[in-house]
């Protein structure tokens, strides 16, 4: 009973973080058709910005939204400088991988220079601990588990119910047709990147509330998010969300039964197996779209 509860809780908690990261990756992939390898750096930058704002004396309730906005702005800026000028290149996918990697390294070392290597921690969303059955958990973790589906639900409503969201999905489905009906495709590219960065920043704030922050803290969540989007299907939003929780459960179960050392290897084995059997992801139909 204790084992099952631990795996379920761990899976829900990790899955929430992965979902926040993976949806951003998938959003950028579906709209622009590129993979943002600086996504993990957004997460780290968001956490550091939030930390700086809290440190200057702002209440977390004001600091966190401000950090999210600031990270979204950085996301937009990155898109405008190292992604948009490359659109139309024949080897776009590859070149964007290298430019986003380089931009990520630039931001990472910038953060290291500004804030130094000493570990920092953010205040938790909710203070305190509690017991669920036989396992002890922090209220911060429970808050993440509750808040994440709400945020993703809000994103879902935005994408399916608002004109702007529909425009984003239109660009994802057919860029040329979107341009023909008068959508500002360039601005929508920027929006996709900004939303992705905002989600990554939230994930960073979540993570910074229970673990020490470091300039390389985004690397591991980025890898997990990569596994998630491949597993769930790169070209949808719902696929990665389900996949994030599945991978979260899988990871929790693996580390329980096989130990921490083998878990990453098993996860990557799942990644490679998925790509061999169903490269479009297990939840995805074969068409490219945003739903």
């Amino acid at each position: 009973m204790g084992a099952l509860a631990e795996i379920l809780f761990g899976g829900l908690f990790q899955g929430s973080l992965y979902a926040m990261m993976a949806v951003g990756l998938a959003l950028v992939w579906t709209t622009i058709g590129v993979f943002n390898f600086s996504h993990g750096v957004f997460m780290m930058l968001g956490a550091y910005l939030a930390w700086q704002l809290v440190e200057t004396g702002l209440h977390p309730a004001a600091a966190f939204p401000l950090a999210v906005l600031a990270t979204a702005a950085v996301g937009w800026l990155l898109q405008a400088t190292v992604v948009r000028p490359l659109i139309g290149r024949a080897n776009l996918v590859l070149v964007v991988v290298i430019t986003t990697l380089a931009a990520g390294s630039l931001i990472e070392n910038g953060v290291l220079t500004i804030w130094g290597p000493r570990s920092k921690q953010l205040p938790p969303l909710v203070d305190g601990n509690t017991m669920i059955g036989s396992i002890g958990v922090s209220l911060h973790q429970i808050a993440i588990i509750v808040v994440t589906p709400l945020i993703l639900g809000a994103l879902w409503m935005f994408l399916t119910r608002t004109r702007l969201g529909l425009a984003l999905r239109a660009v994802a489905q057919n860029e040329d047709a979107s341009q023909l009906v008068g959508l500002n495709v360039t601005a929508l590219y920027g929006l996709a990147f900004a939303i992705a960065a905002a989600l990554a920043c939230l994930a960073g704030i979540f993570m910074g509330g229970y673990r020490f922050m470091s300039p390389v803290m985004g690397a591991d969540p980025l890898l997990k998010a990569l596994i998630v989007v491949v597993f769930g299907g790169i070209s949808s939003i719902s696929g990665p969300i389900f996949a994030a929780y599945l991978i979260g459960f899988f990871e929790a179960a693996c580390s329980y039964y096989f130990g921490l050392y083998w878990t990453p290897a098993l996860l990557f084995a799942v990644l490679i197996l998925t790509l061999m059997v169903r490269p479009e992801g297990i939840f995805s139909s074969r068409s490219r779209g945003l739903a």
Binding site: W29, F35, T81, V82, P85, L86, R89, A90, N91, V93, L94, V95, V97, I98, T99, L101, A102, A103, S105, L106, N109, G110, L112, T113, A219, L223, L226, I227, V230, I234, Y261, W262, P264, A265, F268, A269, L271, I272, L275, M276, P279
Partner: protein, 335 residues
């Protein structure tokens, strides 16, 4: 000739081979004279590192530039060479020279293994599988810490030897010679391969897969050949790196090294082999010149990479070709 994307569309073997061979010998002679110009062991160390990077980058150019395979696991082949050499010499007690060759074979086998899942895939999916492969290799090495030393790495790996020559107290001239010989062998191998019929069919697959297959080129066989061929000298370079540094660590699987070597390939201009080699020299020396800049060094390098990607997509070789064409007054054919 360049297309708008900056890819080099010149068919392999357009330059007469005699002229290329003459240029190659000249370049080799210039490099061979380097240690007599720069007699201190620090400069020689930089050159040795540049040669190692040049081997890794130019072999990556074979699969990436010529094959059009977005292989993101190339550095894992280098890392496999490092660890294969370390384990073969330290645990199995194999002769360093035999271990050097065997490491190349091990890397080639690993490349064949990773080619199997990507045979059906394209573009971003190949990036993800090969990236996953690199991570998988690293995780296996970390998890087998009683053999591989885990995150601590392996130290005191046996070095190479040359008869009675003392490689430790010769101002690195011995290692310089071996590194240069490896680079020369690797470059001859790559250039002969890309100028051959096999090389032409690899390029054909890259440029028009459907047409090449309909003309009887086997995608499976050519892709296996491309990745296996790019792996051998990469593995040997890894083994040489381990023998030279005398330690192995999982840093070789990290993103920062992969980013630097990938930018050498792209900075040089893909599909040229020589471009990757020239860019390796430029970037290594550039990075060393900024050794005192601390955290600013990776930042400056990152900005440099972005600027080159944005401004001159055909890379250094594209620049040199354009300058050469301008110099000799030859008109470029309109695109």
């Amino acid at each position: 000739m360049m297309d708008t994307a900056g890819r080099n569309l010149r068919s392999p073997g357009r330059t007469p081979w005699q002229r290329e061979a003459a240029g190659f010998v000249l370049g080799l002679a210039v490099l061979a004279l380097m240690p007599f110009v720069f007699a201190d062991s620090y400069s020689r160390h930089i050159l040795i590192m540049a040669f190692i990077y040049a081997i890794v980058a130019s072999n990556w150019d074979l699969s990436l530039g010529y094959g059009g395979v977005f292989n993101f696991g190339h550095l894992a082949l280098f890392g496999i060479g490092v660890y294969a050499y370390a384990l073969l010499t330290k645990l199995a007690g194999l002769d360093p020279w035999l271990a050097l060759a065997a490491s190349g074979v091990v890397a080639t086998l690993a490349a064949v293994l990773v080619t199997i899942p990507i045979l059906r895939l394209k573009g971003i999916y190949i990036i993800l599988v090969t990236f996953g492969f690199a991570q998988l290799v690293m995780q296996v090495i970390i998890s087998q810490s009683e053999i591989t030393g885990g995150t601590q790495g392996i130290v005191r790996i046996p070095g190479l030897y040359l008869f009675d020559h003392n490689m430790v107290r010769d101002g690195k001239i011995g290692y310089f010679g071996i590194a240069l010989a490896l680079l020369a062998a690797s470059t001859i191998f790559l250039r002969v391969l890309v100028r051959s019929r096999t090389g032409a069919s690899i390029v054909a697959l890259r440029d028009n897969e459907e047409y090449a297959i309909s003309r009887g080129v086997s995608l499976v066989r050519q892709r296996l050949i491309t990745l296996a061929a790019s792996a051998f000298f990469t593995g040997v370079a890894g083994a040489f790196y381990a023998a030279y540094q005398r330690n192995a660590s999982i840093d070789v699987f990290g993103m920062s090294l992969a980013t630097i070597v990938l930018s050498m390939v792209l900075l040089g201009g893909t599909g040229t082999i020589y471009g990757a080699i020239i860019a390796s020299f430029v970037l290594t020396i550039f990075a060393e010149a900024m050794a005192d800049f601390g955290a600013w060094r990776p930042m400056i390098t990152a900005v440099l990479i972005i600027v080159v990607m944005l401004v001159y997509p055909s890379g250094l070789v594209g620049m040199i070709q354009a300058a050469w064409a301008g110099l000799t007054g030859r008109l470029k054919r309109p695109a």
